[in-house]
Symmetry: C2
Subunit: 113 residues, 2 copies
């Protein structure tokens, strides 16, 4: 048997952070714009920005600095809050993977294989 799980964070009963937003913020950080970030994830700009805006509203904080203009229509970079949240979430997800695999092995390590 294999272990499967999904994990995410909620605030006031609504999802605010998960693997999808992690990937999206990492892409914005890497690409320097929502436009390029969304393209790199085969996602529309509208969807990418919608997800980020929704998370910002639910968290009650800004995740991106957007600056207009320039040749490709402006860029975006993570706020300090977003950087902190992303760093915590990454460590959290690594810890989750390690803990879950350990717990799975300790209970289903052999005979039920």
């Amino acid at each position: 048997m294999e272990l499967k799980y999904k994990v995410w964070l909620e605030k006031d009963g609504k999802a605010v952070f998960g693997d999808g937003l992690e990937e999206l913020l990492e892409a914005v950080d890497r690409e320097g714009s929502i436009n390029r970030a969304s393209a790199s994830l085969h996602m529309s700009y509208r969807e990418a920005w919608g997800r980020i805006k929704e998370a910002e509203e639910r968290l009650g904080t800004s995740l991106l600095h957007k600056h207009a203009g320039g040749e490709d229509g402006g860029g975006a970079e993570l706020t300090d809050v977003a950087r902190d949240l992303l760093a915590r979430y990454r460590r959290f997800r690594q810890d989750v993977d390690e803990a879950m695999n350990r717990v799975f092995r300790s209970n289903f390590g052999s005979p039920t294989e």
Copy 2:
């Protein structure tokens, strides 16, 4: 923020054990029949038995002994394999809850609250 997660076990890419089956097998064990077990979970007999049969097929093992007849149309009890699986799953779920809460607190313990 609050931690949310779902966990289940798969075999050959198909779900074979999770919180729903745990609850159902516990009910059969407690009630002594699929009929009473399904009623106690506000589920139809057809759905309850369908879920158990699907898990049996995917696991390649019997989870219930069914015995026909008697005043209420026969009963059912867990096989040794089902008992072992259920006991492991219960411990596993307790371990998962403990580990997940610990990992969450260690990464999101205070400031992002």
